[in-house]
Symmetry: C2
Subunit: 331 residues, 2 copies
């Protein structure tokens, strides 16, 4: 378990300042106090006073997503959620979710018997058994990247894929690219379908040509890129958009293997801006999702649903982070 010193070390401040932050002393600034509390939540430090508060229970279900360490996609989303939950006096459990789990437990039953007043779901696939149950649940439920039609108890939170993909395509067009491909994430994922549609819409709006072959589905891992890179290059593609940064890392590795230079021969743009992006060679130009903010907005939406304010969807702006993996189109 973390100590006050761990918090002090992380923030580079003294133990007595951390102590003041935790105890609500008036002689430190509100923003520093909040940072101390946020870090306490991240490191799992609790005081007797914190534990003594009356808390309602929430849970986060995670499927198809890595989240255990700070370099993984889900980590900051869960952290942002927990930081906001702490302020609103909720206790949060993180529960790994599998198809087997969903086959064994009904969603509503599981929530009720465990006393959870709401849930945040990360990474559900369209064919998941619980997805059908979310259509009629009366339990406040917020889903990242999944939209449940017409159920006022279910909210959707995500980043605007349409604006993100269009920003990237406009950026590439300004660099002279016309033949742009998309190696998408997995099928059976709402977010893959959304990014595919975003690609189609943007390419159409800008008068660029595309086909089934220029927008293959893959999976959200580096290995998924391998079979597609050579094929896209043979179609004359000069820039490859990727369903996430891991796929982009796979594209970079495959290009290296093929002796294809980035960005001289082909440009590559990722999606997410996970920590690894900046460390790739070349550093990855990518469409950033603010994952701490996604978590915080997820908690806000869930707390709203609990209070009968029926937020249907909240979308965040994506931001194009320009690094070295996209450059002028080859002649």
């Amino acid at each position: 378990m973390a100590t006050i010193k761990d918090i002090a070390d992380r923030l580079g401040i003294s133990v007595s300042t951390v102590s003041k932050g935790l105890n609500g002393a008036s002689d430190i600034s509100e923003s520093l106090r909040q940072t101390v509390l946020d870090t306490a939540v991240e490191l799992g430090y609790t005081t007797k006073q914190m534990r003594g508060k009356v808390q309602r229970k929430l849970c986060i279900f995670v499927e198809n997503m890595e989240y255990e360490t700070a370099d993984q996609f889900g980590y900051d989303i869960i952290l942002g959620f927990r930081q906001s939950a702490y302020r609103d006096n909720f206790d949060v459990s993180v529960i790994p979710l599998t198809p087997q789990f969903q086959a064994t437990e009904k969603y509503d039953t599981y929530m009720l018997k465990n006393g959870y007043v709401g849930a945040f779901l990360l990474g559900c696939a369209l064919q998941d058994e619980w997805m059908e149950q979310f259509r009629s649940t009366a339990i406040p439920t917020v889903l990242l990247d999944n939209y449940i039609k017409k159920n006022p108890s279910a909210g959707y939170i995500g980043t605007d894929s349409f604006e993100g993909i269009d920003n990237a395509i406009v950026y590439l067009m300004n660099l002279g690219h016309k033949r742009i491909g998309l190696i998408n994430g997995s099928r059976n994922s709402m977010i893959s379908d959304q990014r595919r549609q975003a690609y189609i819409d943007s390419m159409t709006a800008h008068g660029l040509s595309f086909s089934e072959d220029t927008m293959p589905y893959g999976y959200f891992v580096p290995e998924a890129a391998k079979p597609h890179v050579d094929k896209l290059l043979s179609l004359g593609i000069t820039a490859i958009l990727c369903g996430n940064d891991l796929i982009a890392a796979g594209v970079i590795a495959e290009c290296e293997r093929l002796g294809v230079r980035i960005p001289t021969d082909v440009s590559v743009i990722g999606f997410d801006d996970i920590p690894i992006s900046a460390k790739l060679n070349p550093p990855l130009t990518t469409i950033r999702q603010d994952r701490i903010a996604l978590g915080k907005c997820g908690l806000y939406a869930l707390n709203s649903l609990i209070n009968h304010v029926c937020i249907s969807r909240t979308l965040l702006r994506p931001e194009l982070i320009v690094r070295g993996s996209a450059g002028p189109a080859p002649d």
Copy 2:
């Protein structure tokens, strides 16, 4: 100026309980304390302690919308915004907006010279001069029912028109209606365009026929209904959706003048659920917008933008409120 007794009378509680709520005494419940504070905000009551807090300044610009009294559309939106703003320590000014005002003052300049850190805009028209300026402003700006593309400083908040219109059409179909029309709000309004598209999408999805003639534009006032009712009826329309409740009130008045019975001869469904809806004859079936929640979410989105969390859009669920103005289709 309101007194403690005014708050007590409004809530039907004692003056001493109000006093406890205002002073944060520990022997009343948190929810009652919040209700007391919300009512103090609504009635404009302030204590010395409230006035003494350091406050940042926000403003609400209102155009093309009534908001002065509780029966008007904008009242609850502004109230919800102000109630949340109070909790987050913001001071709020409400400023009527006109085309003349926009021609005289640049948005950014006006905000800066008056020390406003953010604005909430209600009722802007698409051709408004400021709409162009919102595309590039760096000042946190949230718009009700208007979406600004690709500016991370601008957020959009509203109710999901697509789900609202589809709910109403499905409801009418279950009552046997096939010929459904829409008397829309004014042109040059994003929300009119959205509801028109929602009508087109839903009618298409359900295999129902429509044409330009079945979805005329009007204006968001009762008088706008008059020229369209007879025309729609002559096309065999048996159910009329309306761009808002005021138009629906106009449809009811015109039907009475023409001797057309509601809902026996024609069904009418409004949009908004303003207080007048329940008092019409027959009481209006309508698509409800939770206006207090719109205001609260507006403040949340604005406060997020101020803190560099770029909320792009937040949509609330509409709710179909069933009263007496829609019934089975005539044989």
